[in-house]
Symmetry: C3
Subunit: 447 residues, 3 copies
């Protein structure tokens, strides 16, 4: 990705992909405190911060708008929420953690006995020190979320519950940014923007994609890259309903979430199972130790890839995460905080996603022009002068694989798949072999 | 399977599949004592008992009839058999256990020294307390089967062997019962009827199929169900030779044996490997804990599926068992008795087979009529109002899978296979989604 | 393979494949001491010995000849090589082990300090008692190989290095022998001949193929068998460059190496992945305990199959070994000596390769002429008279598999694959079934 001119100068964005972890973490820290929901101010405020990095467009969809089987709900406004115990002590305070208030709670200002209050309290008995994250977008109810240990200690008596919220016609918002490539074919990169103070899910994804978009401003690409930051489910549906006429441009796509923890990388295939993006994910490696991604089959549960992969769209969109949603103990709890995500993990995730983009952009088809036998690699400086070793280097193996399979019918990705080597390694070897004039670049077949 | 009028009132047959285990066990107990063989009275007596349950036809094939490469042998008649030791004590008595006499033994009435007798005795040294089950249908010989422990204790001296048997022209019999469906396409359900007092192999299969046929009398089906109770190998060959002209009606089939023990369920695929019945078996679950069936590839050894799956017929017939023949220690020994099979296991097997029939009958193809994105399941009462949970219920996953794959090209079985959920779960979810008018029933493609 | 007239009488070659291990070992012992390289006298001397067994042709390719991307180098002549320590003691002597001298070392006659000498010494620190095998065919350098333990004990001081070698125009040689079959289609059998005193790699392969060729002189075959003994890489390329016009005759091929140790058998598939030879390897068993071969996917690293499987040729040639190159500790060290290979292992390898040839020659297609049901095997003496056993013999299973799959579309190899039985077992059962007139031999489809 050669460097172009730069207009913005977003904080910490480097041209060296190895420096990006801290910039992403810094942005995640800025957006973490905001109480986002599927509508309203939290999303607006978040998009405003992203505007420091990229020239993002905010789209507003009015309450009441039909999007397929759904209707945009009224905007949820939250001003304050707390609970006073019988002694008048604040035992729960929205200002301390916005997870204390169930998202989309209706307003309450009332004194009630403990028994009634308990019917509205959500806890995690198995994780007694954590606040759970709960939502009730499409029901008129309210809820208080708190650590189970605190819940057990509540004395009998009357409690004052104050939930100063409001639902009224407003907007659902989503952010959109297009990196223009030379082609109108698009790569969709999507992160959900509706979760309140949860760091991995999904401040990490929002921050990484934003920094990636900023980073890519200095590169030129074949594909155009469409970055979308929208509330979960209804946000992606809103975007889809407004963009149906040009979905045929979406050639590949990734939904990103939970990319800041140190877990293994999990990729969930698109509904198509073997779309190019699915194959690239399986040929990508992550981190210093070049770990393979754990590639799972498509399933209709997860993030917004569910909508992109619904049968009426069936787009080639996969889901990329570190630890998979629902499987790590911090998921949807107050432990998914800024200590849980680390700059180094964000940096590793960034480089892995950049590798995937490089593979999308660079999957050319080589032709071996001396296909009868192996060429004498030593003549080209591509083989050690002294022989008899017990094992070859990985790069030497990559040379041999590219030469062996470069029959003009197999792309670098095909070769990576059969060799079981990383696409990146195959691509580097192919570049050297092309330099040595041992293979020709036949271009991009079926791009 | 909606309820129709009832004509018979066989003992213990309920309309509730959960009550069937005891009825099946009771029937197995009635037929257990009979000394069956591949011809003659034992089969006649057994079929007479089955007639209390269903309107079964008995077919008689005369000795000497050619059936393909085989010839129906003379009928074997057994009146008595015993061995007296040197002191005149009955040490082996056919009346105690019909396994003591090798099936199809020729008549003997003679005193002989121990050494000569030993040449005709069959034992199981590794299971010294059990009588083995032995046959010699097509050879003129005789044999005594006894526990190895008793065999070791035989004193030297002269023994009187009395085998009061006879082979003379007679008949091979098989029973046949047809449950009429709306179509002439048939499902073949087969159990062998030639084993003497062995409970799991195959009183269990005979009793289960008979009770199933009785149970189904109150149901209407698409397929017609042909129940066959015939002696192993030569009985199925006799049936095949008389029914060649309409084998093309056999759309699916199952051979049943050993369905009364508590082992895992073993299914052996048909020679076609991926016939509908094979696929249904792989999508069926068994018992309260919803265990998957152990699905094995086809092999030409086993029960009468060998004949149905011979290359000249190649019918889509699989083999269904609990513990697989030859693998459980009680197999072909006197330990395969009425203690070895249990009503609860027979009931579990019954419900599993009924589930397979339900899948054959109910493999319709759904069409999602709001295929763009997911419908808002909460509106239809199909999704919990409060969100943020770490994991979905299995039913919710079934909704999502059906909606995602209901593109009009995939049947419920296709969906069960890709989702790895049980057919029954997918079918239940699809019924609810159809009720909610979220999917259409496109009917049965390629039935 | 019926016996024909015999002209040669090579030492120890029997007509009974079970007697061949010692003959092969004896030949390996004769050629072991020779200092082979990719050119010159070592190869000539080796071919001369092979001439005692078969009427082998020696081909001479002059230095400077272009073979594809390579050029035949000058011939390397070695007369002596040794190192004297400061006390004048011979610490390294080529006459003791030709591995001490890096193959293709340039001449040296000079006194030098230990530090300079060390820059040319190769050792194996992890195997401190062994001499490594090193080569530098295409570079002008020199090297001494010695045990790491000796290397550590070298005192400071001046050393005299004498390497009496020479590079001058000469020849690369390869040996070729054709066993004529009734067809012009050929099976290529290849062993590399360039390694000095290494027993398994590849005196074992050279000796086995030579003895196989001698053994086959008394047999008539359908295929013609082309045995090639050529230096690694450049030798096979030389043969390919001279035989391009008739490569289309090569129907199957095997590269052999390391066939004398007691390890499991490793087969590496051809680039085509499922060529007949690849399928036969997977259906072959080895040794008394009938072990399956470990079948690995093709990889472009290894022996000369790399050249045969280069994309410009893409011949169906696999690699057969016992312990795979690079994986056993003796590989490319002085421990790969005559104690490492054993007559019994060579004999086992021989019989396995003969089984593969028998499969190539004998993969006929059977037709079951009584395909409706199973034939009554007992009538033909192919089934035990007394039944009720818990398990069938492997031969009985082979009968049943052949009968079940002999629909005229499946060869014996197809049947071996689906039954997971050895080709040899299936072929033996098929021969008996043909003898019993139960199946017809439809001949060789697509041979």
């Amino acid at each position: 990705m050669p460097v172009l001119e730069k207009q913005f100068n977003p904080p910490g964005i480097s041209e060296r992909p190895h420096d990006m972890g801290h910039a992403i973490y810094a942005l995640a820290c800025r957006i973490f405190p905001i109480c986002r929901s599927i509508t309203g101010k939290g999303v607006r405020d978040t998009i405003d911060i992203l505007k420091d990095y990229i020239n993002i467009d905010r789209h507003d969809v009015p309450s009441g708008t039909r999007v397929f089987d759904w209707t945009i709900p009224d905007e949820w406004i939250v001003r304050d929420a707390y609970v006073l115990d019988p002694q008048g002590q604040k035992i729960v305070d929205f200002k301390t953690s916005n997870l204390h208030l169930m998202n989309y709670s209706i307003p309450v200002q009332r004194v009630m006995p403990l028994a009634e209050l308990k019917g509205h309290i959500h806890t995690l008995p198995a994780q007694p020190d954590l606040i759970p994250y709960k939502t009730a977008y499409y029901t008129d109810t309210w809820g208080i979320c708190m650590p189970y240990r605190d819940f057990l200690a509540l004395p009998e008596g009357d409690y004052e519950v104050v939930i100063d919220t409001e639902k009224r016609p407003g907007h659902l918002h989503y952010g959109e940014y297009l990196h223009h490539g030379s082609s109108q074919k698009e790569v969709l990169l999507y992160a959900h923007i509706c979760h309140p103070s949860l760091a991995n899910d999904n401040c990490s994804g929002l921050a990484l994609l934003t920094c990636l978009a900023a980073f890519m401003r200095s590169t030129q690409t074949f594909y155009s890259y469409r970055f979308i930051f929208a509330p979960g489910t209804i946000g992606s549906l809103a975007w889809l309903s407004r963009n149906e006429y040009r979905l045929s441009r979406i050639a590949h796509g990734l939904v990103l979430s939970c990319v800041g923890d140190g877990g293994d990388v999990n990729y969930k295939r698109s509904r198509r199972h073997s779309a190019l993006i699915d194959r690239i994910a399986a040929s990508t490696r992550c981190g210093e130790d070049q770990q393979r991604l754990k590639v799972a089959d498509f399933s209709p549960y997860g993030y917004d890839e569910r909508q992109f992969c619904s049968p009426g769209f069936d787009l080639p969109v996969g889901l990329l995460q570190r630890s998979a949603f629902g499987t790590f103990p911090e998921y949807h709890t107050s432990a998914d905080n800024l200590d849980f995500i680390r700059p180094e993990h964000l940096g590793t995730s960034f480089r892995m996603i950049k590798d995937m983009i490089d593979a999308l952009e660079g999957n050319w088809t080589p032709l071996n022009i001396s296909p009868k036998g192996e060429p004498q690699l030593g003549k080209y400086g591509l083989f050690p002068a002294i022989g008899g070793h017990k094992k070859n280097s990985e790069r030497t193996m990559a040379y041999l694989w590219v030469l062996n399979l470069a029959d003009g019918c197999q792309s670098l990705l095909d070769i990576a798949e059969r060799s079981k080597l990383a696409f990146k390694e195959i691509a580097a070897a192919a570049a050297e072999l092309q330099e040595a004039r041992l293979i020709l670049n036949l271009g991009f077949l079926n791009r």
